[in-house]
């Protein structure tokens, strides 16, 4: 077994130990609390989760939330990468947009959400726009750093050899920006889904956020946990089966 394989095995066993520890702590806390209405134990929550799954409720709402997360993620990444690279490469653009960026970075997510609903209305577009506006500034800041770190010698090389725009993008620009895009994507997906829940809570009649709000009003802790944990699980899968493989593929040359 190679060193890296042993290392990976070690890491995944630590991962499971950590998860088991978390569940064990939860079980102990539930036993100590002794009030299933306040803190249900893991097993009843799991049973309730199965029930929701069979009724089709869970997948429906998780699916809707996931679509909102994806839409906002794609929009925020596209806009953030474009604006960030422009700001990093052009001082005039940077000077013009930097104050706007600082204002947006300091605008509370809640304010953006409320204003989007007030101005656009309680619509899907308003919900996606609110989440996107919350995330764009962070992607922009990270990609601006990436664009500032671009190697001018590679630009000279591309200019002298008259490489096409597509070749420059594909072989010169994107590989240099890849670590910054990966970092922005990783922090982005985590932030976006948290904001999506708030957006759903405030102005949507479906999705995980809506359900959590509903069960909060009914003081049903078990069902709040069912929806919260389900979505965390979905996002862990996204991380493990989408984000990480893409990152590994992009970094293959490093470990060659």
């Amino acid at each position: 077994m190679s060193v890296s394989a042993t290392d990976r095995l070690r890491r995944s066993s630590l991962y499971f130990v950590s998860l088991l520890g978390l569940i064990a702590t939860w079980q102990i806390a539930a036993t100590v609390a002794g009030d299933p209405a306040l803190l249900p134990a893991p097993l009843p929550v799991l049973t309730a989760m199965g029930g929701e799954l069979i009724r089709g409720e869970l997948l429906h709402h998780v699916g809707i939330t996931l679509m909102r997360v994806l839409a906002a993620f794609v929009l925020a990444m596209s806009i953030g990468i474009t604006v960030g690279v422009l700001m990093g490469r052009d001082r005039t653009v940077d000077g013009l947009l930097d104050p706007v960026l600082i204002v947006l970075l300091n605008l509370p997510a809640l304010v953006v959400i409320v204003l989007a609903y007030l101005w656009i209305g309680l619509t899907e577009a308003a919900a996606i726009a609110a989440v996107t506006i919350n995330k764009v500034p962070l992607v922009t800041v990270m990609l601006r750093e990436g664009a500032r770190a671009l190697d001018p010698q590679f630009d000279a090389l591309a200019s002298i050899y008259r490489m096409s725009r597509w070749k420059r993008l594909r072989h010169i620009l994107l590989p240099q920006l890849a670590p910054y895009i990966a970092a922005a994507a990783r922090s982005g997906i985590a932030l976006i889904w948290k904001i999506v829940l708030v957006v759903e809570l405030l102005g949507r009649s479906n999705g995980v956020g809506f359900k959590i709000h509903l069960y909060f009003q009914l003081f049903d802790v078990k069902m709040v946990l069912v929806y919260a944990i389900s979505f965390v699980l979905v996002m862990l899968c996204v991380e493990a089966f989408v984000m990480r493989p893409v990152e590994t593929a992009a970094n293959r040359w490093r470990s060659a």
């Binding site: 190697d151 010698q153 590679f154 000279a156 090389l157 591309a158 200019s159 002298i160 050899y161 490489m163 070749k167 072989h171 010169i172 590989p175 040359w253 490093r254 060659a256």
Partner: protein, 208 residues
């Protein structure tokens, strides 16, 4: 100033001035390089050699005067400047647009025949240098522009790479301009030498 009577002139430089803000970097510079000749421009660091080379390469158009150079130019930089995410072979084909067969042939010429699938970080510095030379020659350039290409090498490696460079230049018959602070490098390539000095810098014919 060159009074070269050799054939057609591959490079024609008539610069009246080049400024960076308030600083005049280059003064009046006139130089013609005949096709197939190697010319070295020497001078201390920061005098404006690289600026002159950027103008000749078409990377800097913000100057007074006129420069005519061939369309197919190949650069050799102080660092190998290889794309780390591309294999050795892709570094030649993707960047220059050269075909695979041609790239393999040139890699053989520089002694890297078994390294096509290697990434730059898997090559030694000497091999990276050879690869950057291979890239420069694979596109069959009309003009080779070299900016301190031997500066980052130790003496033994530099001699080896200089000999290889000279051989490739002679075999291809390419016109070449070398910028260096070391007169020995100019001699090693058998170059006609010019000296860049003063502020703003001007060119004088050197002693070879």
């Amino acid at each position: 100033m060159s009074d070269s009577a050799f054939g057609d002139r591959a490079v024609h430089i008539r610069i009246d001035g080049k400024r960076f803000g308030d600083t005049a970097v280059l003064g009046s510079i006139a130089l013609d390089v005949a096709s197939g000749r190697t010319v070295a421009i020497t001078g201390p660091s920061g005098i404006g050699k690289s600026t002159l080379l950027r103008i000749v390469s078409g990377l800097d158009h913000d100057f007074e005067g006129e420069v005519r150079a061939p369309a197919r130019i190949s650069p050799v930089f102080q660092e190998p400047t290889l794309l780390p995410w591309l294999t050795a072979l892709d570094n030649l084909t993707v960047v220059t647009g050269a075909g695979t067969e041609e790239a393999e042939r040139v890699m053989q010429t520089v002694g890297l025949e078994n390294k096509q699938a290697h990434y730059p970080h898997q090559l030694s510095l000497g091999q990276q240098r050879r690869l950057s030379l291979a890239r420069a020659f694979v596109s069959n350039p009309e003009l080779l522009v070299m900016d301190e290409p031997f500066a980052s090498l130790d003496e033994q490696k530099a001699d080896e790479i200089m000999a290889l460079t000279r051989r490739l230049i002679e075999d291809s018959g390419v016109t070449a301009i070398l910028v260096t602070h070391a007169l020995a490098e100019a001699r090693a390539l058998g170059a006609e030498t010019f000296h860049l000095s003063g502020q703003p810098a001007t060119l004088t014919k050197g002693i070879v």
